[in-house]
């Protein structure tokens, strides 16, 4: 089992003839996703990586019986693409596009909800069910089939965390990036609910960041409904207030949306929050064993103002690191 996508996913790629759309259509197909068609108005009848291109979603869906779409369309036109997908009867729309105006998204969200469809994103990396289907831009090589559900507001931070799990031998049921924008179609609570009901998922990793109150709402939901171990990570502890940290949604407004608040909310409901993405796997293992998390004291390698300390720090770091021997390589790179 998995959530949202699996072997039965029949995917249409909207914006398939664009630079990103064509590249990722091929990547998804290579991974094993059942890509049944693509849409670019004016390019109907052509093919991209052997995938049939249609002019409209209406035509594409009627000819392919697709049930899912993924959008790689520039921000000025992406909202229209979501309307088109939902109107054609698609029930799961994944929007990768970054930079869609929030006002457009408020209207889109209302429409999607009214039609009973699910939107993932925008401004997200999509999702992947290892060994079955990948929709979006996540690198297929970093995942491994298993029992951990991963949900995150980020892209590359998600990859970092998934890769840490995979390196530690911990596989994933589904990994999903819900997007870094202020208005997103699917939030933490939706994913936690789905993972909680999914028999293949034994534990959940939730990666949040500053801005908004989704993590706090997730904490309340976990307390009420989730009976599986949940492990958290929150990015942005060093972010200043009122500055947008890349993602449109990653902004501390006044005094709300801070990392400290989110960490406190999660810890209060028994969700341990890892201090580094590389700490996540050991937290998962400990939680799956039913144990409590033992917090490891951080060895601060801070440069101190006194000379003696500097030398000491240097010694410690250089002896514990194989930094100067880049030739020594793990085999991980080869799989990619």
């Amino acid at each position: 089992m998995s959530i949202f996508i699996d072997k039965n996913t029949r995917l249409i790629v909207q914006g398939i003839t664009g630079r990103d759309g064509s590249f990722h259509a091929e990547q998804m197909k290579k991974y094993g996703t059942n890509v049944v068609g693509g849409v670019t108005p004016g390019k109907g009848g052509s093919k991209v990586a052997g995938i049939q291109v249609f002019n409209t979603m209406e035509e594409a869906v009627s000819k392919t019986i697709a049930n899912t779409s993924v959008i790689y369309v520039p921000p000025a036109f992406a909202a229209d693409s979501i309307y088109e997908a939902v109107d054609s009867g698609i029930k799961l729309v994944v929007c990768i596009t970054e930079g869609i105006p929030a006002n457009d998204m408020m209207k889109v969200y209302a429409f999607v909800k009214e039609r009973g469809a699910r939107l993932i994103g925008p401004n997200c990396p999509g999702l992947i069910t290892p060994g079955e289907s990948k929709v979006g831009i996540m690198p297929g090589s970093i995942v491994k089939k298993g029992g951990v559900g991963v949900v995150s507001r980020s892209g590359t931070l998600t990859y970092e965390s998934i890769w840490a799990l995979t390196l530690a031998g911990i596989g994933q049921s589904t990994c999903i990036g819900i997007g870094g924008d202020q208005i997103i179609g699917t939030n933490f609570v939706d994913c936690l609910d789905a993972f909680n009901k999914d028999s293949a998922t034994k534990a959940i990793v939730m990666i949040g960041e500053i801005g908004g109150s989704d993590e706090e709402e997730a904490a309340a939901f976990i307390k009420k409904h989730v009976r599986k171990p949940v492990i958290g990570f929150i990015a942005g502890q060093t972010a200043p207030a009122d500055k947008r940290m890349g993602h449109a949604g990653a902004i501390i407004s006044g005094s709300s949306g801070t990392a400290a608040d989110k960490i406190a909310a999660l810890e209060k409901v028994g969700v341990p929050v890892a201090g580094s993405p590389t700490e996540i796997p050991s937290f998962v293992k400990q939680m799956l064993r039913g144990g409590k998390i033992k917090k490891v004291a951080v060895s601060v390698t801070s440069h101190s103002k006194t000379k003696a300390n500097v030398t000491k720090t240097r010694k410690v770091t250089s002896s514990s690191s194989n930094f100067s021997s880049p030739v020594k390589k793990a085999a991980k790179g080869k799989s990619r």
């Binding site: 929030a102 998204m105 990015a235 947008r244 720090t313």
Partner: protein, 379 residues
């Protein structure tokens, strides 16, 4: 993006939201001339993109043009929360009978615009929300249907009893909502909305924040951007297609992806270091972006080490490696660069780095510690 009060007031005036007469000045003589023209007491208001200008002494009342000039001398050049005041708005001073608050925000939880009104105006609305939440009235507006007049009137009745004031406020709220929507704003705010001695409802202040994602539809707003009031390195980064926020530490960070960039900064802090910036090179792998990124970071004299952390997905590690090599050749940095490139094409990238003898690390924790270590030695 933020615009100044005086710019927001021009927009208000254009759509018919009443604001006091006012003009912008960059020196104190101009201030006196403007005050003489009004022939009545004026307010001199610092134009900087921070809240709490009044508390910081950036907003003053002047009885006479001479007093206005003296006050302007003090305010111009004043440093408010790190920003230097370069412009002041001179407005005719109004008699204030009551102060209220009206604001429209983009509410993430309900995914709708939310209108907030409060009869407790003139002070920080967050403070009102925290201390006396019952004084704030909220309305979530259906984004598809838009705001109905009766809804605006209901809100106006929360503020005033006098029918003429209710009517004027209803108009103001309708116009404000229209602005919020048409400008792709993330916030529009009047604090305070006042009633004058004559019973008129006037917007004494004006604030408009724009959704950066909507700016492409509003070149006229983009033209209002005050480059003077922004960190020069942040302007340069934006023009180079980078997402950058300057901080005060000494370890420059270059990362792909906003979440990973924040997590990298957090780790720097966790291991006892201090990040100099947030920098996301984005999803593309244009080597020139890496060069620009390194250049911007090197311009900060505090920086003692640069940490580059890339997890290649769409971003190709070999492209980033090429960018690093070009930057080193062109810029000849005097601070150490610590690199970690993992993911797509990492083997190729490592080959490129080895050819120029640039060491690199394998794990995130390892490179962060290394950068802190090197920064300590360089300092």
């Amino acid at each position: 993006m933020k615009i100044h009060e005086y710019q927001a007031k021009v927009i208000f005036a254009k759509v018919g939201i009443p604001v006091p007469a006012g003009e912008i000045a960059t020196d104190s003589v101009q201030v006196r001339t403007i005050a003489q023209k009004y022939n009545k007491p004026v307010m001199v208001k610092a134009q900087v993109h921070v809240g709490g200008r009044g508390k910081a002494g950036g907003i003053k009342f002047a009885e006479t043009p001479e007093a206005a000039q003296v006050l302007a001398q003090k305010i111009l050049g004043m440093n408010i929360k790190g920003l230097v005041v370069k412009k002041v708005l001179v407005t005719s001073a109004e008699d204030i009978l009551s102060e209220a608050y009206v604001g429209i925000i983009l509410d993430r939880a309900t995914k709708t615009p939310v209108i907030l009104v409060s009869s407790a105006g003139g002070i920080d609305i967050e403070e009102v929300a925290a201390k006396t939440p019952h004084k704030i009235h909220k309305l979530s507006v259906d984004p598809v249907e838009g705001l109905k007049v009766f809804q605006a009137r209901n809100l106006a009745y929360k503020l005033y009893k006098e029918i003429s004031q209710v009517r004027e406020t209803t108009e103001i709220i309708m116009k404000l909502y229209k602005l919020f929507w048409e400008l792709d704003a993330s916030l529009v705010e009047i604090n305070p909305l006042i009633t004058s001695n004559a019973g008129k409802v006037i917007a004494l202040d004006a604030k408009i924040n724009l959704d950066d994602n909507g700016l492409f539809r509003h070149p006229e707003i983009e033209a209002m951007r005050d480059l003077d009031s922004e960190e020069p390195s942040e302007v340069e980064a934006r023009q180079g297609g980078l997402s950058f926020v300057k901080l005060s530490g000494n370890i420059g960070c270059i990362v792909n992806g906003a979440g990973l960039a924040m997590a990298t900064m957090d780790l720097v802090k966790r291991y006892g270091g201090d990040p100099a910036n947030f920098l996301d090179i984005g999803g593309s792998s244009n080597p020139q972006k890496v060069v620009t990124a390194i250049k911007i970071i090197l311009e900060d004299p505090k920086v003692r080490a640069i940490l580059i952390n890339i997890f290649g997905g769409i971003t190709r590690c070999d492209d980033v490696a090429n960018g690093i090599v070009t930057a080193i050749n062109e810029l000849k940095p005097s601070v150490p660069i610590v690199v970690r490139l993992t993911g797509t094409n990492e083997e190729k990238a490592h080959k490129i780095l080895r050819a120029v003898n640039l060491p690199f690390g394998e794990t995130l924790d390892e490179v962060v510690k290394k950068a802190i270590d090197l920064a300590g030695i360089a300092a």
